[in-house]
Amino acid sequence: MTEASNAIVSPFTQSALDFVKSLEVSGDFGEVRESGMAAFESLPFPTRKTEDWKYTSLHALTTQDYNRPADNFDLDNASELFEVSGLDAYQLVFINGVFVSELSDEISEAGVSAVPLSVASDAQRALFKQHVGNIAETRRNLFTALNNATVEEGVLLHVEKNVQLKKPIQVINITSAQQQTSSAFARCLVVLEQQAEATLIEQFVSTAEEQNILLNQVTEINIGDGAKLNHYRLHTEDESSLHFGGVYVDLNRDSQFESYQIALGGKIKRLDVVVNHNQAGSHCEMKGVYLPKHNQHVDIHSYIEHIAANCTTDETYRGIMADQSKAVFNGRIHIHPDAQKTLANLSNKNLLLSNKAQINSKPELEIYADDVRCAHGVTVAQLDDKACFYLQSRGISRQEAEIMLSFAFINELLESIPVDALRQKLRPLLAQQFTSNESLTQHILDEEIGVCSEGAL
């Protein structure tokens, strides 16, 4: 390192580098760590002028030192934090980035590796090493670079050719309250070989206390020819949590990636989702809901790269911002010159429940091929007075009317979740975001009558 480059390293970067160097490592993944470290060091710390971070302030990271290891890996009743009743899935549980075998399943399906690295075989570790860092991009996101620099523990999910995973894999990342501000890292690598099929549920939960912890998590997904991944990323941590997440997906010929992302707000919550249509015929369908309230912040950046021809993308995100909360949605679709016959659609609708809530939504279409069909639409609205009056004129209280209309805004997305148990878990959980008064949510949550509309989004 030269004197000159030393001079521009920010205090956060410097302390993160020191922290990373102090971590004990096995040495197996030295390559990705070193390149991650180099990338991290070369990236300037984002300011308000950094395009990708314009509306998400990282000021909190400069006033307090998060570059310290977390402790408290033992939790009583941890399973209550993530249990999804009626869901039959394999569970892999991590607390503050550390694998908890007592809460986790041993998964032995033919043709499937689903293991934490700390207990993986040499062959599995070699497989992980072969793929890790290939998809995650470090140029845009310093936290992904930092995550690369810390690769040690994490999940490997590998499904062999023509194999269909029998049950979903539920990867649970728990954070617990810390005395001192600190950081934890987590990693997940998914490789589906040709025609393989799997469901991955990434769940992010925390204890209901002041967290003081930043979780930096990166998931890389390689979907082989004709293979399909159903992906869920569910963020329901405490509102004091800090999260920097990245989902990086490579799609091969005729492969499918179907993803649901649900995010409550946090102190800072940032999720980058990057999907590369590398080969012809691949399909990506993403649905997302973000629901910040109080002073929470959520930032979702999606980057869809249409590199090959005949691929499709269908993106639908809905956000409801209450109180003084703030959300950022940036949806970029980039059609490369060879990506003829691309079909891409991006819809982002937002509902502001208060005059002080904010949304910064920016769709970006960059098109370098001529024979494509692309559309995008963004709306920002408030509750519809006419609809509210209609409900009130039938005796429904203003409060309940507002909650019904707010929930209606995301209802159709929720209803489209194909896993019953997840849908049934999420509906009340999200309805509770609008009120803690159960009498106001009883009708939207009534299972017997709560059959929803089949209208188009």
Partner: protein
């Protein structure tokens, strides 16, 4: 039942109702006719408590209470029902959950116990049938993608479920085919009761062949300019509104 005295109201700084008087007794059916823009829908909106409709003078008493002081939902719970001229579409809220929330709110206000979901479902299906709507409509979003006539029948179904004391039907007959008109009229007639009154706003005498009114009023320029029996509707059908204005002048 309902007593409106010298009611004046404005919308967005524009005076619409200019001293309107009506007296409705229990069990009566009143028809209101009148030219476009006269203020008929405004009257319905003012009575049901819509924001933005400001009462600038006069009194309205409903079952002895001053309803002008009440929120929209309170008026509905007290038994006032407005079938809208243009029912709104509310995607994402299922018709059934909406109906259940309404019925629960109104019943609880009356001190009746909440209906369990299965009993309610049965009742809702019954009412669907009564207005000749397929049961699938219960699962759909409120009025979402309903045809004009289906929306009107949905209004009548709501009325049947809520069992209000005073029903204001704002052009419920407009846009209905002949069969649907009959269905709606039968729906209304089935709800006739010595303790229930109706105000039927319509442009067509035809409806009044099915729903026979006790009184017919002409509302023009924010006032009732003429009242009479059911034969007034026939006269209006024949001569239009011009002659009344001349009469007044």
């Amino acid at each position: 039942m309902l007593s409106i005295k010298n009611l004046q109201a404005k919308v967005e700084e524009k005076d619409i109702l200019k001293g309107l008087n009506i007296e409705v007794k229990p069990g009566e059916i009143h028809a209101i006719m009148g030219p476009n823009g006269a203020g008929k829908s405004t009257l319905g909106n003012v009575l049901s408590g819509r924001d933005g409709y400001t009462v600038t003078g006069g009194e309205v008493s409903f079952l002895g209470k001053n309803i002008l002081e009440m929120d929209a939902e309170e008026r509905a719970r007290e038994g006032l029902f407005l079938a809208f001229q243009y029912p709104v579409e509310i995607p994402g809220v299922s018709n059934l959950e909406f109906l259940k929330a309404s019925v629960d709110a109104v019943r609880s206000h009356r001190g009746e116990e909440a209906m369990d979901s299965m009993t309610f479902l049965k009742l809702a299906r019954e009412k669907c049938k009564a207005v000749n709507l397929d049961q699938n409509f219960l699962k759909r979003g409120v009025n979402e993608g309903f045809s004009g006539g289906e929306k009107k029948r949905n209004e009548i179904m709501q009325m049947m479920l809520l069992e209000p004391k005073l029903c204001i039907l704002d052009e419920t007959d407009s846009g209905l085919d002949i069969d649907a008109l009959q269905v709606v009229a039968e729906g209304v007639n089935s709800q006739r009761d010595p303790n229930r009154s109706f105000i039927v706003v319509t442009h067509y005498q035809r409806l009044l062949d099915y729903i026979v009114p006790d009184f017919v009023h002409v509302l023009a320029d924010g006032k009732i300019v003429k009242s009479g029996g059911k034969e007034l509707a026939l006269e209006l059908e024949e001569k239009g509104y011009g002659w009344i204005e001349n009469e007044g002048a």
